[in-house]
Symmetry: none
Subunit: 217 residues, 4 copies
């Protein structure tokens, strides 16, 4: 009996996963828009109606995707911070190296995270949105306290704030430098160079400067 339930639960999870997977693939392939439910149904091999058995609305699918991506990202950061650093300089170096590594390993995070706000304000039950924010807040505080362990001169809550600033810079810079290939190919004048900088080269520079300014004397 329990066995049967377990199997059924597995099936449920696997269907849920295939929906998320299909949605993710469609989102990455195309433009910065949520794929349509028809497209998701087709790509996941399920019927349209079935999608509504697993998610109450299109935006909830996307939010689940967002949660997964944030989760993996935060897991990575947590891993990076698990190694306690003795000096501020050591912390900055280790954090930057680790963080960039995690981000490069989760390249879709940037595109997904950039959609967060517009998704949260759309067709979503506010309760659901709040639940998402709470998860995020809890983990920020959690991982923030690990930061505070390495940087004891930080006050309570300042670790989380530091992470929030890092996150803000991460997506802010991405939005500023992101550009479709089509348009990028038309930006062949010297004047555009500042807008064409490589994101993964630029990000550690800005983050490094901010952390340095933040943690210095």
């Amino acid at each position: 009996m329990a066995r049967v339930r377990a199997v059924a639960d597995d099936e449920k999870l696997s269907k849920r996963h295939s929906i998320l997977d299909a949605t993710f693939r469609l989102f990455m392939d195309n433009t910065n828009e949520l794929p349509s439910m028809s497209a998701i149904a087709k790509a996941s091999g399920l019927a349209k109606g079935t999608l509504y058995l697993y998610f109450r609305a299109k935006e909830e699918i996307f939010l689940a995707l967002l949660e997964e991506s944030f989760g993996r990202m935060l897991d990575g950061v947590q891993g990076v911070l698990a190694v306690r650093q003795e000096s501020t300089a050591g912390f900055i170096g280790a954090f930057l190296g680790g963080y960039l590594g995690v981000l490069r390993g989760e390249p879709s995070f940037l595109r997904l995270a950039s959609m967060t706000n517009s998704v949260l304000e759309q067709n979503l039950d506010p309760e659901i949105a709040v639940k998402f924010k709470k998860q995020l807040a809890v983990r920020l505080q959690d991982i923030g306290s690990m930061v505070e362990t390495s940087l004891p001169h930080l006050g309570k809550g300042e670790g989380a704030k530091l992470l929030l600033h890092v996150y803000a810079i991460t997506i802010g810079l991405w939005q500023v430098l992101d550009c479709s290939k089509k348009i990028r190919s038309m930006l062949d004048d010297e004047i555009f160079s500042v807008l064409l900088a490589d994101y993964f080269e630029e990000l550690p520079i800005v983050l490094g400067q901010t952390l340095k300014g933040k943690l210095a004397g």
Copy 2:
């Protein structure tokens, strides 16, 4: 309806402006989406067809709004930087104070600027998108060179880069802290405090730290 014929150029400009105005109001009122042409028509007291006499497509209306807002913003920054600073510390202080003032005076800039990417990738002639990017790039370089005047140890192009980073932080932090009133009212737990920081208090802190880190020895 306002069946007033805009014959002279200034009348046309004013009608154009009333379209932009209506679009702006609708955008600010509602969610993070471009209002529909029907809604814009109704809000501006014009027929739908009339909108297309002034703009070739919905996205061009929004781009015009974007250009105006960026223009005012950059004018403000240019004004701030017109006063040459002798020291790095003086520069940071003067810039931060001036910049925050300009930003507070243009509060819609943040929501508009956050839409830039999604608008530029939508139903827009790529030429138009490039033209917009060029305007921006030119002014960034231009104002960047003013930065370089105050901070002579910066190399050529580093002023523009500094401004770009400031811009990235400006919108990144905004997206991280932005939250609809409805949802904000539901975030009454202590755990949410890091997500509820006041944007205009937080921004100068992060910007200050970054500039300090960037310009320090």
Copy 3:
């Protein structure tokens, strides 16, 4: 509305047919234009969106109508030619009689066929248009070879060509004599008599003359 679900294939076919039927009625009632999707939806008692479950575009509805009508027409002609004739004169007589009979039994063919070109050049995937032409070409060759059986002095391919000429005359004469009732009632002068000839009387005359000229020594 007819919220009846067409689940089985035959139910779907019948729904598809009811769309074609409604389209046909609207086309026959009104002017020489494809009816609008709104009108078709209303006339078929279905929602607009439902139409797109059965046809990918408005023009495909009409093309399906065209295919059906051509199909029935060609079936009829094939039936007529199934009886082999021994003499040229016998062939002409039998063919004319049979052809006119088929055409009278399919009176809408003339109006539909007259639209073929304009429909094929509209909003239609060229592949689809070619597919339609191919069907037509195949059947013309097919039935043409039956003609060649009755008329052994014709070379290979001349049977199809003969049918094409018959078809050209069929629709050419129809267009020349077709006239809305409203206008027809205003043509009460003797001078108009040549334009008011009865199509079904005139057609066998012209076709007979052409076939006679074509097949004579």
Copy 4:
């Protein structure tokens, strides 16, 4: 005074002509649809409102174009028939040669004439449509009587009827063989050959056969 009027009339005629000219160019350039009034205004260098001073509706512009083209065509045929032929065979040969020459010299006639019916049934004052038909009928009778002069065994009215049949075949065959270049390029199978015959080679064959059949014994 009369002078001034004459000048004014000239101007009127020239404007009217430039409208027709622009419409014609646009129609020939594009697909088988009447160009829009905006396009006509732009192409003729006149304001949209001005078009309505010269024509009451879009279709009247097109009808005027049709009248001109029919007029030139019929003038040409009249010229061909002005030379009286003594024998039936002589008539057929001379007529075919002359007619094909006229048609080749007026290549737009085919596309225009094919639109006649759909234009006449659209947004047109029936009176206007009747007027057009009358002009045509009168000239058909007129030129038909010239045919009767060369072919004395024809009864009264049979000359006009012969011309009507010629016209029917002319446009019927054109519609059957007409095909956009795009689609034509996709018809590279042998099976399509019957649909790809050259119109100006095929037409005299069919016309010759019909006339032979019509005028023989």
